[in-house]
Amino acid sequence: MSIYDAAMRYKAAGVPLVILAGTEYGSGSSRDWAAKGTMLLGVRAVIAASFERIHRSNLVFMGVLPLEFTDGESAESLHLTGRETFDITGVSDGLVPRGNASVRAVAPDGTVTEFTAKVRIDTPDEITYYRHGGILPYVLRELVRDVSR
């Protein structure tokens, strides 16, 4: 099955999605469709060992949460296969730049893996964008508010 078809099935079932990745995730280009497409497929968070600059900020600008493994951990070292179910807490409140989020992964056999991930929302402005669901919704709301003020 293609990734797109899989994403659409998950979307229809109301299941949020995450991506697990290694180092230098999103290197190479300022291509914002990499973030737009990720968002439109229903991905709420990308958990990577590290991010490249532009793609990380693009994810934030599209309202997708970039999370980084900490303490040298990785999907591999935590024995994550991608078959787990993920809960991420610390998002709805208490979100601060470069703060922490708690991730709980439950494997099909019931094994629970809990770890702390660094929130790669790097600045207070980025927090604002993320809360607005992205930078463009934020700018739009600001423009309309400026005039009606």
């Binding site: 190479g28 900020s57 600045t123 463009l136």
Partner: protein, 742 residues
């Protein structure tokens, strides 16, 4: 422009007898901030930006204080706002940006605003360079045929951009087949120093920009601070939102010595890429300085700036100096503008690094004389290989490229009998990285001339192309008498655009393509570009090497990577005598003499006079008018994106993530090319299936990059790269084997 002027830095400067206003860094320094004098060049420019934009909200006096007393070695960081003077776009990223702006006009109306609230507040210039593909080559009229196909494929997008040009303020479009965005920026658009207003009291300030293309940093070579951002961030910047950033760590790259005979700026930039990737400069600014800098031409510096994203750095800049002024004059910039740059840079302590050495976070020392002829590949720009090791390096990489398959019997690489593993099937002189540099372009022409004189010919399976980044290149190559020998070796003009460098290589010739497929050959490309990620250049080409234009010509003659160009002959002359690379390699003096005679200011002036006009095809293209765009649901190129459909007046904060499943488990170094490919749309993938269902014939699919105005195509292309390895589905690429929705 409102400013609090808390530090009393607004003063004036006389330029040619006229007083212009500026925010003086020297005044700030004297006001109790002695550290300003030794701030790196790029941080001085960010500091001026703060002074001029101080409004007590986005930029506060505390922000200015923090940067003015910055200790680059303290290892701290702080957030600042940056408001670029302009925004640069290319058509792959520009079309979706204008699509978003058009959708935002609808969105603003929905929230009770008016469409004209959505307008760029500063100059936004878009160069159409990413769409031309190489279907025709070696033919006399290849350029015209490719341009014609380009127009027939992209009519809808181009009409949309023409609509945008009339609908939005401050938005201009450089039509297709004119040049490559970064080269046009370097040669024409860059102001270096801006002037708002005219006459007495006009405000002078450093030219700065963000661009919707990674290689925006090419203009760093001119001393202009700017970098690549995503389209979304560029749109926000256009609408007046400051770019929020952390004060960057600035790495000083100290150059000494000189490049040796036989080495080029391309060799240099590939060596620096390798060096800086090892050093680690991701997210940092790199500043070139030291005694070796004076020996690098402005075009060399632009090549260094161009590949900043390959280093991993945000910016890779050379300060303004006499070389900058000379280049501005050479490229036909107005004498008053050159005088402004000169006076402003000197008044602000931005001219050269002759005085006190700036304080950098770290310094990397580099001897230009250590550079040797090099290529980089097969998959990453930082994997430099010296030319004399290229043969063994390819042999070493072959098993990996075969992906575990055994080397087929009878194809011992290196037999030279014909098309085989390692064959160079694409040799492309292309990309702003190098076509902006007359020295390497002239060197390629001279090498071709010598090769033709000795009777050498390229191997028949090589797709040879010439695609420069500006109309000026063919002017000076013509003036030097070098277009003819290049054409004799198959390097005929195929277009003015990115072509091979972004994956618009076009198909391989049928017979070559069939044989590569039938025998599952690992074939290669050699291009004078900046990127060589897997699957980027051409879907059938597994190994891609970056090289200088003269080496591109040499590899076309050799026809394979399985040969040592430093010891094995490129071919035989008419008398059967071996001809080696060293026999046809032009000397630095030859290149210099030819360049001095052929590259002239009039060429820049005449070619850039009508840069926004376009050809008859562009001028004759009918485009919609009006403030709001009338979306056509039948369009397969431009669709109303869903981003603002459910927009509420107040934000709804995101909830915690519960019960999420993994869509893909990926390894290291997954690029945005993997996540969202720009090139070919496979007919059997979800995007291809969708387009067919819309009645689009696969031959008219065009590329993903050209379809970014249609989110339906782009969603289906996300994570669908043929080379993406999803560990959730081992053995397959870009696919998922099962869905668990519980």
């Amino acid at each position: 422009m409102s400013t609090e002027n808390s530090f009393g830095t607004r003063t004036s400067l006389s330029v040619g007898g006229t007083a212009v206003a500026l925010h003086s860094l020297e005044t700030l320094e004297r006001a109790g901030f002695p550290a300003v004098a030794r701030l790196p060049y790029s941080l001085k420019i960010l500091l001026e930006n703060l002074l001029r934009r101080e409004d007590g909200r986005s930029v506060t006096a505390e922000d200015i204080q923090a940067l003015a007393s910055w200790d680059p070695r303290a290892g701290k960081t702080q957030e600042i706002a940056f408001m670029p003077a302009r925004v640069l776009l290319q058509d792959f990223t520009g079309v979706p940006a204008v699509v978003d702006l058009a959708a935002m006009r609808d969105g603003v109306v929905r929230l009770g605003g008016s469409p004209d609230q959505i307008n760029p507040l500063q100059p936004a210039e878009l160069v159409i360079d990413h769409s031309v593909q190489v279907d025709h080559f070696r033919e006399a009229n290849a350029f015209d045929l490719n341009a014609q196909l380009e127009f027939s494929r992209n009519k809808e997008r181009y009409a949309f951009l023409k609509w945008g040009q009339q609908a939005f303020d401050n938005f201009r479009v450089v039509p297709p087949d004119t040049g490559i965005v970064h080269q046009v920026n370097l040669e024409y658009l860059a102001r270096v120093v801006c002037l708002d207003g005219t006459g007495e009291g006009a405000m002078a300030y450093p030219d700065t920009l963000v661009g919707t293309d990674s290689h925006t940093t090419m203009v760093n070579g001119l001393g202009v601070v700017g970098w690549g951002v995503g389209g979304i961030e560029a749109e926000a910047a256009m609408l007046g939102q400051p770019i929020s950033m952390l004060i960057p760590e600035v790495v000083g790259f100290k150059l000494s010595g000189r490049l040796q005979q036989g080495t080029t700026a391309t060799d240099l930039v590939l060596t620096i890429t390798e060096r800086l990737r090892q050093h680690g400069v991701v997210g940092k600014f790199v500043e070139f300085f030291g005694p070796g800098l004076a020996s690098l031409s402005l075009a060399d510096r632009a090549t260094l700036g161009n590949m900043s994203p390959e280093y991993g750095s945000t910016v890779a800049i050379c300060p303004i100096d006499q070389m900058t002024l000379d280049y501005l004059t050479l490229t036909g910039r107005d004498a008053r503008q050159v005088a402004l740059v000169d006076a402003y840079a000197k008044a602000q302590g931005l001219f050269g690094t002759a005085g006190q050495e700036p304080v950098y976070a770290t310094v990397v020392e580099f001897d230009l004389a250590s550079v040797v002829p090099s290529i980089a590949g097969p998959k990453r720009p930082q994997d430099r290989v010296s030319l004399d090791e290229a043969k063994t390096a390819f042999d070493g990489a072959l098993d990996g490229l075969l992906g575990g398959r055994p080397r087929p019997v009878g194809s011992t690489n290196g037999n030279g009998a014909g098309l085989d593993h390692g064959a160079v099937v694409i040799a492309a002189i292309t990309s702003c990285t190098n076509t902006s540099n007359p020295s390497v372009m002239i060197a390629a022409g001279l090498l071709a001339q010598k090769a033709v004189a000795r009777g050498l010919t390229p191997k028949p399976w090589v797709k040879t192309t010439l695609a420069p980044g500006s109309l000026v290149v063919t002017e000076y190559l013509e003036a030097a008498g070098l277009m003819a020998p290049l054409a004799d070796l198959g390097f005929k003009l195929v277009g003015y655009g990115c072509t091979t460098c972004i994956g618009n290589s076009g198909p391989l010739p049928d017979d070559v393509s069939a044989e590569v497929r039938a025998r599952d050959l690992v074939v290669t490309s050699v291009l004078s570009g900046n990127r060589n990620f897997e699957g980027r250049v051409q879907p059938q080409v597994r190994a891609n090497y970056l090289a200088s234009p003269p080496l591109v010509v040499a590899y076309a003659l050799a026809g394979r990577m399985t040969m040592d160009l430093t010891t094995e002959p490129l071919g035989q002359d008419r008398d059967g005598m071996d001809v080696f690379l060293r026999d046809v390699w032009p000397s630095a003096e030859e290149v210099q003499t030819t360049m001095a005679a052929a590259v002239r200011t009039e060429q820049f002036i005449s070619k850039y006079a009508g840069v926004f006009d376009g050809d008859e095809r562009w001028r004759g293209l009918a485009a919609p008018t009006g403030q709001r765009f009338e979306w056509d649901d039948a369009s397969t190129y431009v669709r109303n994106p869903p981003f603002f459909e459910d927009l509420t007046p107040e934000p709804v904060a995101p909830a915690d993530v519960a019960g999420a499943r993994v869509l893909a488990t990926l390894g290291d170094s997954v690029t945005t090319d993997h996540i969202s490919p720009a090139g070919t749309i496979p007919a059997d993938g979800p995007a291809g299936t969708y387009l067919v269902s819309c009645g689009v014939d696969p031959k008219d699919f065009n590329s993903f990059g050209s379809r970014r105005g249609n989110h339906e195509v782009m969603m289906r292309g996300t994570f669908a790269n043929i080379r993406l390895r999803n560990q959730l589905a081992p053995g397959t690429e870009g696919r998922l084997d099962q869905v668990s929705t519980r």
